[in-house]
């Protein structure tokens, strides 16, 4: 298990755990990012942050700060 932020562009994995505090991660989960969801890391933004991922057939962008707390398998 490792943070989503360590994935390389094009790599796929499955979300295992989300360590963002429960009261903050609601919207993220409502967007479909849940334990068990397959994700693909698409790219990092030109300035290194944020990161773009693909899940459930759409593209979503998150900051590295959050991506470091999302663990994938």
């Amino acid at each position: 298990m490792r943070p989503l932020s360590t994935m390389t562009p094009g790599e796929r994995a499955v979300v295992a755990r989300i360590d963002i505090p429960p009261e903050q991660r609601g919207r993220l989960m409502e967007m479909g990012l849940l334990p068990g969801t397959p994700v693909e890391l698409v790219r990092f933004a030109p300035l290194g942050d944020p990161v773009e991922i693909k899940l459930r057939n759409y593209h979503l962008s998150l900051r590295k700060l959050e991506a470091e707390k999302i663990f994938v398998r």
Binding site: G32, P46, L47, P50
Partner: protein
């Protein structure tokens, strides 16, 4: 005759607005919901039966019924029938993007559970098909329990079916489908608790019992659902119910159930199964055009180049394209004022109408071309999908000062004019971030400062070695630094909050719908004109009054004597030199009158506060009158220095300013005075239109007043430091 109300709802970027425009034929009414700055769009269904009119209300794009922004809150409250001036929907039409089925159905099934008569429009089936997903709409309809209409709204495909359905429903409204269908397989304990709360809700609010199941689910799983929400009249839940929900949450927590995520996970599990059941994969998905574009547009090098090019193009066009209509408007306003002035008997009323009302309205209308163009570009950027890429690219920079990528465009827009910039902050979800952006946006040097900078640079800065251009650049950079610095300070102090989490969808690119973009541009501009215009008109009349009264009969007598002398001595026809003297007399009279007026006295009264900045009372008059709009400073100085009031002959004004002396004989407008004055104008609010718009956007006087005070104080302090340090250094 009762109007049949259709509510259109769905995720952002699902093609809802395109569908709305197709149904209402671009004749929608756009306004705001009472008490909040959320755009309210409604229109009549074109081609509806005259006896059975259909009104369509387009709700803001929403990801879920647990709102994160004012937009989403309004959408939820309307669906829950909590908004007083919006009738209960007779039919809810959910628009879902077929190529992004699971996430779109997350919201769709939440809405279906509310039990309104509901219809699902499955939009963009062409995109889904291109990606190799064939969706069986009948099977989907069976799974969801509501009719499903496949559609390609951008091509008009499926529109007729929807139209006919709406017309049919309006004639014979279907019976409410009260199937309490739920798209969850909730963990047992959770389901039981939800059931108990549902029963309690039915007891407390019998008239809304239909919504009770859905409401119970939200109450149990959405942290913020219990607090009465600001402004929109959400229900105040009885204390016993709040207690009940809280103890239910505690019991669940003790049993190891995460009450925040249980319902979300259960719903997505169901949706995954539904998608598997209704979708047939026809081809392995290849790389989409949108992904190929993104490989360039968000590329490490090309992406930034494209971004800079887009922004440069946008600003160049705003400055250059707007110049022509602006000149035209200026000429038209002048001509109108002249015509009215000459066709009315001279006197105070004449003066009030021409110089107060017409010039006042003119000072607002003059910015309309820039505002329209900016809204046009913003509309195009939003409609194509580039806007979210811009936020993606710039987020890193903005996060340094505690802001969001989404704050970038509003701040950039403020270079043209802070008003559209402030209006563009509506896309920012978090209140603190939005307020911080609004508070600092006017520090970006807007186009109204340009005439002020121009005349001061011409009068004070050596016209060689590129000093003028460099000075101008420095002022722009100073504004940027000020805005970023203040944003950082506000986010650290006044508007401290959770560091905003960025959850930004990057939707596929699409071709913009030009008609709709133009229409939206015009609607937003009109909103600005109507609301800001009235306040500005009032302030301008007030300033006119200050600059005109009290009249001094002494001055009038003195000048009528001098004019009589001039008339006697003048030859027939007058020589050019004599005409010049006559004009000079007019200018001197205007100047003398201004100096005697309230504004003139105010200028003198504030002189002590301006002395430490190296300004005299004449500049004071300029600062007082330009409170309404910065560029008025130039025309006021023209009057003060007897150059003539049209403000167009910057060159002659600058010449006069250069020869202006202080009491001790030193030049008044040294480079140091010029820079100090420019620094003052970089930071001072000096714009009533902005104050009016901030008042409207924040819905209180508190923020615009705070903003004016902090900006003016900052302007004074920095001008003070500039002048004092400059003087010590011997400039």
């Amino acid at each position: 005759m009762k109007t049949f109300t259709v509510v259109l709802t769905g995720n952002p970027n699902c093609g809802k607005t395109t569908l709305f425009n197709a149904l209402t034929g671009l004749r929608a009414r756009v306004g705001n919901y009472a008490g909040v700055t959320v755009e309210r769009k409604e229109g009549a269904l074109t081609g509806a039966d005259a006896l059975h009119p259909v009104t369509i209300l387009d709700l803001p794009g929403t990801y879920s019924l647990s709102p994160q922004s004012p937009d989403e809150q309004i959408a939820r409250d309307i669906l829950f029938q909590r908004v007083a001036d919006v009738p209960a929907p007779d039919l809810v039409v959910i628009v879902a993007d077929a190529s992004n089925l699971q996430r779109n159905l997350y919201f769709a099934t939440q809405v279906i559970e509310l039990g309104h008569p509901t219809l699902l429009v499955l939009n963009m089936i062409d995109v889904a098909r291109d990606q190799g997903h064939e969706i069986d709409t009948e099977a989907l309809s069976k799974a969801l329990g509501v009719p499903v209409i496949p559609m390609v709204a951008s091509e008009g495909e499926g529109l007729d079916v929807l139209r006919q359905t709406l017309r049919g429903q309006a004639k014979t409204p279907g019976t409410r489908h009260v199937i309490p269908r739920e798209f969850n397989e909730l963990p047992e304990g959770f389901g039981r608790e939800a059931q108990a709360i549902e029963t309690a809700l039915e007891g407390h609010f019998p008239h809304r019992s239909r919504l009770a199941a859905a409401e119970a689910l939200l109450l149990l799983s959405d942290e913020r659902a219990l607090s009465p929400d600001g402004g929109t009249g959400g229900p105040r839940y009885p204390e016993t119910l709040i207690q009940q929900v809280q103890s239910a949450r505690q019991r669940l927590e003790a049993a190891g159930v995460d009450w925040r995520s249980a319902a979300i996970e259960a719903r997505y599990a169901r949706l995954f199964a539904i998608e598997q059941h209704v979708t047939r994969e026809t081809a392995p998905p290849g790389e989409l055009l949108s992904d190929r574009i993104d490989r360039v547009v968000t590329h490490r090098v090309w992406g930034l180049l494209v971004f800079v090019a887009v922004m440069a193009l946008m600003f160049q066009s705003i400055f250059w394209l707007a110049k022509y209509p602006m000149d035209g408007i200026e000429a038209a306003v002048d001509a109108l004022a002249q015509w009215v002035g000459s066709s009315m008997p001279p006197g105070d009323l004449n003066d009030l109408i021409t110089r107060g009302a017409i010039a006042g309205v003119g000072s607002v209308v003059i910015f309309l071309p820039q505002i329209c163009l900016l809204f046009l570009f913003i509309g195009l950027l939003e409609d194509t999908g580039y806007m979210s890429r811009a936020a993606f690219l710039m987020d890193r920079l903005m996060s340094r000062v505690g802001l969001h990528g989404k704050s970038f465009i509003p701040m950039l827009s403020s270079f043209a004019c802070a008003i559209p910039g402030i209006m563009a902050t509506r896309t920012i979800e978090t209140r603190q971030d939005r307020l911080a952006t609004i508070l600092v946006a006017p520090l970006m040097s807007c186009s109204a400062r340009l005439p002020v900078y121009t005349v001061l640079i011409a009068a004070c800065i050596p016209q060689r070695n590129g000093w003028p251009g460099l000075t101008l650049l420095m002022m722009y950079l100073l504004g940027i630094a000020g805005a970023l610095g203040m944003a950082w300070i506000f986010k650290k102090t006044l508007l401290r909050g959770e560091p905003p989490m960025l959850i930004l969808e990057l939707p596929p690119y699409k071709r913009p719908m030009l008609g709709a973009v133009l229409r939206q541009m015009w609607d937003r501009s009109k909103l600005f004109l109507r609301r800001a215009g009235t306040v500005i008109l009032g302030i301008n009349i007030l300033l006119w009054f200050l600059a005109t009264y009290p009249r001094s009969s002494e001055v009038e007598e003195q000048f009528s004597q001098r004019r009589a002398q001039w008339k006697q001595s003048v030859s027939n026809p007058p020589t050019p030199a004599e005409t010049e003297t006559g004009l000079q007399l007019d200018h001197e009279e205007a100047g003398e009158k201004l100096r005697q007026s309230f504004a003139g006295r105010l200028g003198r009264a504030i002189e002590p506060t301006l002395k430490p900045l190296g300004f005299d009372w004449k500049i004071g008059i300029g600062i007082v009158t330009s409170f309404a709009a910065r560029e008025v400073f130039v025309s006021t100085l023209s009057v003060v220095y007897n150059v003539g009031g049209d403000g167009e002959n910057t060159a002659s004004l600058a010449e006069v300013m250069k020869s202006e002396r202080r009491a001790d004989g030193r030049a008044m407008y040294t480079p140091l005075t010029g820079i100090t004055l420019m620094v003052f104008y970089v930071f001072a609010m000096q714009c009533v239109s902005t104050v009016a718009v901030v008042r409207r956007e924040t819905n209180s006087w508190k923020w615009p007043i705070f903003q004016t005070v902090y900006m003016t104080s900052l302007a004074w302090i920095l001008a003070f430091l500039t002048y004092q340090i400059g003087t010590r250094l011997g400039f």
